[in-house]
């Protein structure tokens, strides 16, 4: 990608205009209060976080710390109580195909075949391009399963199919809520590799929610550690490990250092969460 500045508005004959990076997320003073029957629960409290375009950020934190709430606000499923989420400078006001979501337990439509699932996004937007679903499925190692229903696939294959469905829509941002937490160790490793492959090739922003410290460090450019409820940013860890990172990277000293740092923060917060709960009882 060239960095030459454009002086004319019209694209010149020599070169195409430099495409601007898209997919920057700006979380500003985000507060989300749930209010079921008057019982206020502050899930996220005045959180600030900037995620650069094409960056891979892992969101790490003890369970119940509001990770998913943050994601749901970015996805546009939830309206912030205070503050706002901006994507490329525009306020998020609802779901958008530019912000794709992968759910914890995949949400493939059980009444559609794998191919129909993958073609759903394009069908809703610019139209289905012949053969595209098939090539994405091939890439995900799902060739031969086009006409199968999701229930006929293993957990790992379902998660790959959901990733394929997302990619078919060509989103700027991929929001992933503990996408691999239900998979066995080996399948998980394969999926992680696949995800990084896709991310490095396609220049998308990834927000990856996980409670697995090693997974966060292995995948992300930056690991954002959240506090126990109410959720805030506790620590941001820059992961300065070279890419591509092979699985052996976990044995290096630098990885251990990063992991220890993340773990100590997590422990502290988990302890606080526990005391909080005991205090409530």
């Amino acid at each position: 990608m060239s960095n030459q500045t454009q002086t004319t508005r019209e694209p010149t004959m020599e070169g195409e205009p430099t495409p601007e990076k898209t997919g920057a997320i700006d979380i500003e003073n985000l507060t989300k209060v749930y209010d079921p029957e008057g019982e206020r629960v502050v899930a996220v409290d005045d959180m600030d976080l900037q995620i650069g375009a094409e960056e891979f950020v892992a969101l790490l934190g003890p369970s119940g710390c509001g990770k998913s709430t943050v994601m749901n606000c970015i996805a546009g499923y939830l309206e912030p109580t205070e503050g706002e989420v901006l994507v490329d400078g525009n306020r998020v006001s609802g779901p958008d195909p530019k912000r794709g979501v992968v759910f914890q337990d995949n949400r493939l439509f059980p009444w559609k075949t794998i191919q129909e699932n993958v073609e759903f996004g394009p069908q809703m937007n610019d139209g289905v391009e012949e053969g595209r679903a098939r090539s994405i499925l091939d890439e995900m190692g799902l060739d031969g399963f086009e006409d199968a229903y999701p229930s006929g696939l293993s957990g790992g294959m379902q998660q790959r199919a959901e990733l394929a469905r997302l990619l078919a829509n060509d989103p700027d941002i991929m929001l992933m809520d503990e996408p691999f937490s239900a998979l066995d160790a080996l399948t998980k490793e394969i999926m992680q590799k696949k995800l990084i492959e896709v991310w490095e090739r396609d220049n998308r922003t990834v927000l990856f929610i996980t409670h697995d410290v090693e997974e966060a460090i292995l995948l992300a450019d930056r690991v954002v550690v959240m506090t126990a409820r109410p959720g805030q940013v506790k620590d941001v860890i820059d992961v300065d490990l070279d890419r591509p990172r092979d699985p052996e990277v976990v044995t290096t000293d630098r990885f251990t250092e990063l992991r220890e740092r993340a773990l100590s923060v997590i422990r502290e917060e988990a302890q606080r969460a526990l005391e909080q709960e005991e205090g409530e009882v």
């Binding site: 779901p95 195909p97 996004g121």
Partner: protein, 251 residues
């Protein structure tokens, strides 16, 4: 299905005439016609045009009423299930009408509607309408929110979410309502035909009673039973075809 289960199921059907035969043989129920008397009455009816006309009349009435009921109840149920405002506007009124027994409608509908045919169809419609409506509402409400969210994040608008997520997701519940509704459609139809009179299997059975032809009453009952079972099977077949992605309970 395995052979053993087939045999047991066949036994379940065969037990009825055997018990019946024993009942008449031992003279436990006075006036109960013997299976043989009913069989010969059946043969008689078999060659009468009137009988087949009744069968055709009743079947058409059920099918038309049922299809109309489904066509009204399914969209209505989906809307009630998804939109609180719509539910508040319509559901209380419907809940007030629901407990009214079908036969209670007959005098009124005969007076108001231009033909007794229509009043029979109307109460048949009611029989199918409410079970389908209630099940559809339940089905639409039970759709997991993440399916709708997934669709929206893939670019689906509210109508597309309705069509591609809410409706297919509610289908198993809708089918359950259709199976119950088909049964009640027959119940109401026979009641209507007996009261409003004229034609149909209900009328045939009732006029057999007034003329004291006991075997013909039983012929009417059996025919209604067989047609009812066939209609339910038809609904199940349709349901299985419509949701091939999921096995429908056959029990």
């Amino acid at each position: 299905m395995e052979t053993r289960r087939r045999l047991v199921r066949a036994g379940s059907v065969l037990a009825v005439p055997i018990l019946w035969f024993l009942l008449t043989r031992l003279g436990i129920v006075a006036g109960l016609p013997t299976p043989t008397a009913v069989a010969s009455s059946f043969l008689e009816e078999f060659y009468r045009q009137d009988f087949w006309l009744s069968v055709a009349r009743s079947t058409v009435r059920v099918l038309v009423s049922f299809v109309v009921a489904a066509a009204v109840a399914i969209p209505l149920g989906l809307l009630i299930g998804r939109y609180t405002v719509f539910a508040d506007l319509t559901f209380p009124a419907l809940e007030m009408l629901r407990p009214i027994p079908p036969i209670a409608w007959i005098p009124f509908t005969i007076l108001v509607l231009p033909a007794s045919e229509l009043s029979i169809m109307f109460i048949t419609f009611l029989g199918a309408f409410f079970p389908i409506l209630l099940n559809t509402i339940q089905g639409a409400r039970g759709v997991e929110v993440e399916f709708s969210r997934a669709a929206q994040s893939l670019g689906a608008g509210s109508f597309q979410t309705f069509r591609h997520v809410i409706y297919p997701s509610a289908l198993p519940a809708i089918h359950a309502g259709m199976i119950v509704g088909m049964g009640l459609a027959w119940v109401n139809l026979i009641a209507g035909e007996m009261v409003a009179g004229g034609t149909g299997l209900g009328f045939l059975t009732w006029s057999a009673y007034t003329s004291g032809s006991y075997p013909t009453i039983i012929v009417g009952i059996i025919t209604i039973g067989v047609l009812g079972a066939l209609s339910s099977a038809l609904v199940r077949l349709f349901a299985n075809w419509q949701i091939g992605w999921r096995e429908v309970e056959s029990a």
